[in-house]
């Protein structure tokens, strides 16, 4: 068996199922939860919340800023043109390019971090199209044969559970 999971009509039942699986000794990393929208009213909605994304965005911004300063400095100094009496390397007008590339760096870093850390583009063993209709999926991937009965008992205990196996 590749996976055993159940679909629940609401977050409360899904939370009960998760708690029962944890109580049955299943490790958090082996439990899969899927929903059609963020479920932040429930504890399971706060799993794996920690992220370095903000810091990575700041890092991307710094890289963008350094690139802009480098680009403007290098090009203006390597081909000096007098523009309206401004200095060859004029900070004020260059700040605009610096600002734009800083923001672009932060935005691109954020998106790259999202794609990598949310594991987009990588498949998952469990998925059920009923999740799109509002069901919440709680399941365990690659359970040991001896534990399947306990897992099924834990998953079917909450009200409205609909057990499935793959």
């Amino acid at each position: 068996m590749k996976a055993v999971y159940a679909l629940y009509p609401d977050g409360h039942s899904a939370q009960q199922a998760l708690s029962r699986l944890q109580a049955a000794g299943v490790h958090d990393r082996d439990i899969t939860i899927q929903s059609a929208q963020p479920m932040e009213d429930f504890e399971f909605g706060h799993r794996e919340k920690a992220t370095w994304m903000w810091w990575i965005a700041c890092g991307g911004g710094l890289i963008g800023m350094a690139s802009a300063v480098g680009l403007t400095w290098l090009t203006e100094v390597s081909w000096p043109i007098n523009v309206g009496g401004l200095p060859i390397f004029a900070w004020w007008p260059n700040l605009i390019i610096t600002f734009e590339l800083t923001m672009l760096g932060a935005i691109l870093a954020t998106v790259i971090t999202l794609v990598v850390t949310a594991r987009l583009g990588r498949g998952s063993t469990i998925y059920d199209a009923e999740v799109s209709d509002g069901k919440i999926l709680v399941g365990v991937v690659n359970p040991s044969e001896s534990a399947v009965a306990d897992l099924e008992a834990a998953l079917t205990a909450p009200p409205g559970a609909q057990l499935k196996r793959i």
Partner: protein, 451 residues
């Protein structure tokens, strides 16, 4: 049994993707014909030369730059408004954000076309890109036109990603609800989305960061567009208030564009259950605030010029107040100030129809404002030898009209491919809160029970 509200939301919002009525074909064929007319006009301008347009010395910026500034202004409808509403966590934003963000992306694309059309030789547009050419000449980073390149491209990239990221979970819904080739396409677009808590957190964090980043970028874009004017020694252009004046005007026209788009979507796609009168009323109030702000900026600009009494500026001032441009000027004032003030200021008129009428006035008024900033000043500079008139020619009028058709066409095609209201955000707003038992307390109880 699945959550009925969820199924209803899926059905209503995916229906336009799966079902095609005759209206869709009409809405594609007519704008396509107009866009083709615009393309033919553009190619004829390339073939016969810039002489067939009305742009000639001393008015080198006519309809094309007016349209450029206008469409960049309209682009402030979406990402900026959506980002602000996300940051303040306004619950009513949910059905509105995507309608708005789409406007930004398409308006930016259309607006960014105009500098290329205005080049006359569009195949040389790549000279704007900073690259080490064989002539060893880089773009001049001290020129506002190069700032435009960076600002518009940053805003376009950011807005496109800001639009695309929250579409991923909705692509997953369409994937689950479709079959055959469509299913395969949406499977690719959904990027393997499953809706795990990890994915939701990352998506929401990314949206929060991008919302914070995109607000100053949006402000910078129209400030920089205003710098195209205010950095030049032309009467009534060199003004320190042009930055905020342009930004306020951009948001103003953007809200008007959004209200019109929402009203059409509501009617054509039967989205009455999702786009409520309250959404229009709230945006209508915002339109009223922006009308007052716009009036304040115009008064400020005009009074300072009048009080300064500088001859070259006063000449342009009177041209717009009571001479050749006066009919356009007062139409602008009525469209941008009087009409929204009366309609949006009186609660009884703040209906969907009222919002649309006021918005149409604002769109016309804001287009005229851009035109009146550019043409009267360029046609009446400091010395009499540089006085001149501008008469738009058919090629410019057709291209200007074609951009509105292009906007319609792009919007219609988008609505056919992507749910125009964010399904998951709507569900997040609809789903019921848990009962009073705190989940952590319940978990502890279960642990104790099993131990």
């Amino acid at each position: 049994m699945s959550h009925p509200a969820h199924q209803q939301i899926n059905r209503d919002l995916i229906r336009p993707l799966l079902q095609t009525s005759w209206r869709f074909y009409v809405l594609v064929v007519l704008p396509t014909a107009l866009v083709l007319a615009g393309l033919i006009s553009w190619f004829s301008q390339m073939f016969f030369g810039f002489g067939i347009s009305g742009i000639r010395w001393p008015v080198f910026w006519g309809f094309y730059v007016t349209n450029f500034v206008f469409w960049i202004g309209i682009s402030h409808a979406g990402t900026l408004i959506s980002a602000i509403l996300r940051l303040v966590n306004a619950g009513w934003r949910r059905p509105v954000t995507r309608c708005a963000e789409v406007i930004t992306v398409f308006a930016l694309m259309i607006g960014a076309m105009f500098p290329i059309i205005h080049l006359g030789r569009p195949w040389l547009a790549f000279w704007l890109i900073p690259y080490p050419s064989e002539r060893l000449i880089w773009p001049n980073f001290r020129s506002p036109l190069v700032w435009d390149f960076f600002a518009i491209n940053t805003y376009l990239t950011g807005s496109l990603l800001f639009l695309l990221l929250p579409m991923i979970p909705d692509f997953a819904v369409v994937r689950d609800k479709s079959t055959g080739l469509r299913r395969r396409v949406y499977t690719l677009l959904a990027l393997g989305w499953r809706g795990t808590p990890r994915q939701w957190h990352r998506l929401e964090s990314a949206m929060a960061i991008m919302a914070i980043a995109i607000v100053p970028v949006a402000v910078s874009v129209h400030t920089i567009v205003s710098f195209d004017f205010s950095m030049a020694p032309v009467p009534m252009w060199q003004s320190t208030i042009f930055g905020p004046y342009f930004v306020a005007g951009a948001i103003f026209s953007g809200i008007a564009g959004l209200l019109i788009a929402m009203a059409i979507l509501r009617r054509v796609l039967h989205l009455e259950q999702y786009l409520h009168p309250i959404h229009f009323e709230n945006l209508g109030k915002l339109l009223l605030v922006m009308a007052l702000l716009w009036g304040y900026f115009v008064f400020n600009e005009r009074l300072v010029t009048y009080y300064g009494n500088e001859p070259s500026e006063m000449a342009v001032f009177w041209r717009t107040q009571r001479e050749s441009f006066a009919p356009l000027y007062w139409t602008m004032v009525i469209g941008n100030f009087v009409l929204p003030l009366v309609i949006m200021g009186i609660k009884r008129f703040r209906t969907i129809t009222g919002c649309v009428i006021a918005s149409l006035g604002v769109v016309v008024g804001m287009w005229l404002e851009r035109f009146l900033i550019i043409v009267p000043s360029l046609g009446h500079k400091y010395l009499p030898y540089s006085y001149g008139i501008y008469r738009p020619q058919p090629v410019e009028i057709i291209i200007a009209g074609a951009t509105f058709a292009a906007m319609t066409l792009l919007y219609v095609l988008f609505v056919k491919i992507v749910p125009i209201i964010s399904i998951w955000e709507l569900k997040a707003g609809e789903h019921q809160p848990p009962d009073t038992t705190h989940p952590a307390a319940e978990e502890r109880r279960l642990r104790e029970q099993h131990s």
